[in-house]
Point group: C2
Chain length 207, copies 2
């Protein structure tokens, strides 16, 4: 089920550089150092990027496919977030501290990622050519994750399930096509039936 292949990443590098440049613009010299550390990872549908209790060894950038982060509570899944193409993904505390993490991250469909390992991440943070820019890159990654956490917490505190669904649609319109209803409802903390009712209501404009 699970395949992690370090294929030739050459063909993906321009896309990855473009995505990373939305956070930090790397010079050709810096990029030459960084790109040597990048690996391609492919995950079959339902394979795990990381499992609860494992050290999450990678920071990933999703090229195609989708993932979801979830927790298990009393045998039940609770979905924490979805990763779609161009999203960075990791069980970040586990990755940064290099210690076993609690959440699991699983591919919702066949998924391709570019990854940076923990050791590569540490190397680039002290490499004389990349140190400064990598600090910035890692800062912006962390800050963007904080924005996600704050938004999600806000959603639970101040929005109804219907409002949370609409906010999600606004931010990630592709999610409805890409993520099964069941997981969307799970993420919103409602039943699939309630989500279906909400969707019907939203698709009919108010008179």
């Amino acid at each position: 089920m699970k395949t992690r292949i370090d294929m030739d990443v050459e063909m993906y590098l321009p896309v990855v550089r473009e995505q990373m440049s939305k956070l930090v613009r790397f010079s050709d010299g810096e990029w030459a150092v960084i790109s040597k550390h990048l690996r391609l990872m492919t995950l079959k549908k339902k394979a795990h990027f990381t499992r609860s209790g494992e050290v999450c060894g990678h920071l990933g950038l999703i090229l195609s496919g989708s993932l979801r982060l979830y927790h298990l509570k009393d045998g039940e899944d609770r979905t924490g977030y979805f990763g779609l193409p161009n999203d960075f993904v990791s069980s970040y505390k586990s990755f940064l501290k290099h210690e076993p993490g609690i959440p699991s991250i699983q591919a919702l469909e066949d998924t391709v990622l570019i990854t940076l390992s923990y050791l590569s991440f540490q190397d680039l943070l002290i490499h004389p050519v990349t140190a400064h820019k990598m600090e910035r890159f890692a800062r912006l990654i962390a800050e963007n994750m904080i924005f996600c956490y704050e938004d999600r917490m806000e959603g639970f505190v101040s929005e109804s399930p219907a409002e949370r669904y609409e906010t999600l649609l606004k931010k990630k319109p592709a999610i409805v096509q890409q993520v099964p209803q069941y997981y969307l409802a799970n993420y919103l903390g409602i039943t699939a039936t309630s989500l279906s009712r909400i969707r019907k209501r939203i698709s009919v404009p108010a008179k």
Copy 2:
């Protein structure tokens, strides 16, 4: 109620440098640049560090006193976290994006902080003397905030209120002395009566 005084910060600088050096060790030259940007802020009990709907203009390091971050939902408070001495505090998304934030942060008692303004933060990130180390400092601040968010989410997903209380005690033993019962219960998502029952049970060792 609210007093923000830019007093002479000289006397606090060694303490602040010591605290910041737990994240990044600054040289004397770097510290000379950074310390010029630091200001002292004093908040009377119940005064706000930031209010919902305001731009949170500062990142603070608590020197004495305590704060709590909360959201208002249907007229009710929901406590998100507590800041105790040596903790960094901010409505971080609002601070970083320089846009109005949703949470409020309020002093639980008379509180003294050292603060860095948004503009100072931006200046130090591009100042030739401090840029690299400030990127690292800001990265580590953001990463530590992620650890807090992940821990809190984990607590709600996988621990009972009693376990969440014990985890909190382990991480921040001072919190019981410093934070009123009412807010502790509110943070744990339980009633003050339930918290009182939990505390009684914990103080009696299991036979």
